[in-house]
């Protein structure tokens, strides 16, 4: 029997999972590097510009950025510098990649975290609402919404939101991180920030919300048929406590899993949404770096994304283990 399920055991489990992830991260770096190197287009051209340049100048630039070496050598050199914490130097921005990314990371995290919290909360409430009266009008509404949320692409939704709420109704700004011209301070600055966040967050939330709604509804419907739900009613628990303490507690397991495993979608979606809304975050930077063939930046962001997806999956498993006493670790 596993009597000793302390935080120590869980910590050891998390550490073990973390160490197991190291080769995965290395593999991801190699694959990313090869993919980016094999992509058509020459970064030197992007650096110098499309106009003709003397060949010896081109070669000098190539050597300066270490692009003249053979692929395996470049890969080894890149791996070496990543291990030392150096993500390289941006061709286009003439800045260290790490500086560039960290500057934008906060804004992206702000957008993603509010999205996850908002979408999960709304999704759970909608799902519970739908599951309490299956096949009712509320349920059909929620299910329809979930289906729509599933099939609408973020960038399209973003543009529609801009058209309706920014251009049409003029309620909210069409894009940007905050108002540049106005010099807000204190509370006004917060309000201004939130106003800029609403539309991109909605655009990014929709799919996630839909997934959470559908999943909450389905797992709650299943859980509420369980014998132990009947037993907790037979013990005299109120419907509210049966639903929240037994039903949702058990239904939370698949919800946690899905939140974690769909994190990758949010990352991908944020690149599109940041581009549509001119949100100066990592996603926007990635989009730009693809167009300028700014490979060090692209590689750095891909690495960051891979690590964060792996981390979130790890956190998901830890949360799962915390929630479900049956999980052995």
């Amino acid at each position: 029997m596993s009597g000793a399920r302390g935080s120590k055991a869980l910590g050891a489990y998390a550490l073990e999972r973390l160490l197991n992830a190291v080769p995965l991260v290395l593999g991801v770096i190699v694959v990313n590097f090869l993919l980016v190197s094999l992509a058509p287009g020459d970064p030197v051209t992007a650096l110098i510009g499309e106009y003709p340049a003397p060949p010896d100048y081109v070669e000098r630039v190539r050597a300066q950025y270490g692009l003249d070496a053979a692929l395996p050598e470049r890969l080894l050199r890149y791996l070496g510098s990543v291990v030392r914490g150096d993500l390289g130097f941006s061709f286009a921005n003439r800045q260290p990649v790490a500086t560039l990314v960290i500057e934008r990371l906060g804004r992206t995290l702000l957008l993603m975290l509010t999205t996850v919290v908002f979408a999960t909360a709304v999704g759970i409430v909608l799902g519970v609402w739908a599951a309490r009266r299956p096949h009712s009008a509320v349920d059909r509404g929620a299910t329809g919404f979930a289906l729509a949320g599933y099939s609408i692409p973020e960038f399209w939704l973003g543009q529609i939101l801009i058209l309706v709420f920014a251009v049409g109704l003029g309620w909210l700004p069409a894009g940007g991180f905050r108002s540049i011209r106005a010099d807000y301070a204190g509370w006004a600055a917060v309000v201004d920030q939130v106003r800029h966040m609403v539309l991109p967050m909605l655009a990014l939330s929709f799919r996630y919300m839909a997934i959470t709604t559908r999943l909450t509804r389905a797992s709650l419907l299943e859980v509420m048929n369980a014998d132990y739900i009947l037993a907790s009613r037979a013990r005299g628990l109120s419907e509210r406590r049966v639903l929240w303490e037994h039903g949702l507690r058990a239904a939370a397991l698949p919800i946690i899993t899905v939140i974690g495993y769909n994190f990758g979608f949010i990352v991908a979606g944020s690149a599109l949404v940041e581009t549509v809304f001119g949100w100066p975050g990592v996603g926007r930077l990635m989009y730009d770096s693809i167009f300028t063939r700014d490979y060090p930046v692209l590689l750095g962001i891909l690495l960051l994304v891979s690590v964060s997806v792996i981390l979130v999956n790890l956190l998901t498993d830890v949360a799962y283990a915390l929630f479900d006493p049956r999980v052995r670790y």
């Binding site: 013990r235 109120s238 397991l253 929630f323 479900d324 006493p325 049956r326």
Partner: protein
């Protein structure tokens, strides 16, 4: 049909002093006291009167409980037996009006419960909040598959605590939980365990602890040992019987094991296709079963215990409750079926002159149908 039977059971039948459920829970003691029940004169804790439960299914309306009347008196152990699908579990669920499917509903009859304060209430007319207050407090329920009736992600202690809290007994819950677990032969440390860390027998002990947690007047146990290892079935049953005796709680015990009935029950009800076909004190009913169905059941059991030629055997299977047989529901399988059996449902008639030994629903006992003096004993009337 149930109306006819119900009328007979209420004493409308001339010369019948009283049927099952004649003296109600709510009526003063001593008036029309029947000698039927053991212990004599004990106050009824639960009385079902003509309870009808319906399930709306895809194949149509099913009545797994079709006019069931039964009485459980203080301190008594009452058995409810019948084959699979006869409606035993549905009768148990009807007591608290709590069903495993939303399609089921009690649609008729009375469910009279005498609470701890001595007040008698009809649970059938109780609102949701009042009913919730009864569940787990006045009535404890024990289920068949103990492990699946515990939430896998909550500790045993938390689930018992929830129950105590739900009934305003949250103060000192920890001590009470430790006491309860000790009472059922478990270590208080089990409170910190999850269901998957316990054996089936341990889970059922927790189930018993939960049923007794709020010192109820009545415990309903639906096949509490069927899902357990054969080796521990007797242990758990004995524990249940001992706690029942020590705490003086009334027990409605559902089982299809006649051996269990013989061992622990005072009174027994035999159910067939949604109806009570015979009831009476265990000793007498087992010694002299009057209903052909009971006779068949007992013949089968006797065969298990001591080899004996079986004369009455129950053939065929349980009738389809969507379209139950007309008249006496047992008639397609009854070795004594008569023309009237197909047409009309037999009323519950006294098993003996003074109705002291329970009732049986069979036309064979109606002097108007069969000449007086006909006795039906297993293995006799079927002889060559």
């Amino acid at each position: 049909m149930s109306g006819r039977r119900g009328a007979a059971a209420r004493g409308a039948h001339p010369g019948v002093p009283g049927g099952a459920g004649n003296r109600g829970v709510g009526e003063p003691e001593g008036v029309a006291a029947r000698a039927t029940d053991v212990p004599l004169g004990a106050t009824p804790v639960l009385e079902l009167r003509d309870v009808v439960t319906e399930i709306r299914g895809v194949r149509g309306l099913v009545r797994p409980v079709d006019g069931v009347s039964l009485t459980v008196r203080a301190g008594q152990v009452v058995g409810l037996v019948g084959e699979s699908g006869s409606g035993k579990s549905m009768t148990a669920f009807s007591v608290m009006r709590l069903f495993p499917t939303k399609a089921a509903r009690v649609t008729g009859g009375e469910i009279l419960l005498r609470g701890g304060d001595g007040r008698v209430r009809d649970l059938r007319t109780l609102g949701p909040d009042a009913l919730r207050a009864v569940r787990g407090r006045e009535i404890g329920m024990i289920f068949q598959d103990p492990a699946s009736y515990l939430n896998p992600v909550l500790t045993v202690g938390r689930q018992l605590e929830q129950q105590l809290q739900a009934h305003g007994l949250g103060q000192g819950a920890d001590a009470r939980i430790a006491e309860l677990l000790t009472d059922v032969g478990l270590s208080p440390e089990v409170a910190r365990r999850y269901a998957h860390e316990l054996s089936g027998g341990q889970c059922q002990r927790v189930g018993i602890a939960s049923a007794l947690a709020c010192r109820p007047a009545l415990v309903v146990a639906d096949e509490p040992t069927t899902a357990l290892d054969v080796t521990i079935q007797a242990q758990v049953l004995r524990l249940l019987a001992r706690l029942q005796r020590d705490q003086g709680v009334a027990l409605l015990l559902i089982t299809h094991d006649l051996g269990v009935v013989a061992e622990v029950c005072d009174h027994v009800y035999v159910m067939y296709a949604g109806r009570i076909v015979e009831e009476g004190p265990v000793e007498d009913l087992f010694a002299r079963p009057r209903h052909p169905y009971t006779q068949g059941l007992l013949a089968g059991v006797l065969d298990l215990l001591e080899p004996k030629p079986i004369r009455v055997s129950i053939e065929g299977s349980v009738p389809d409750l969507v379209r139950p047989p007309s008249g006496c529901r047992f008639h397609p399988r009854c070795p004594h079926a008569m023309p009237i059996c197909e047409r009309e449902a037999p009323p519950l008639l006294p098993r003996d002159e003074g109705a002291a030994l329970g009732h049986s629903a069979c036309w064979l006992h109606d002097p108007g149908v069969v000449g007086a003096g006909v006795t039906v004993e297993p293995g006799r009337e079927d002889g060559p």
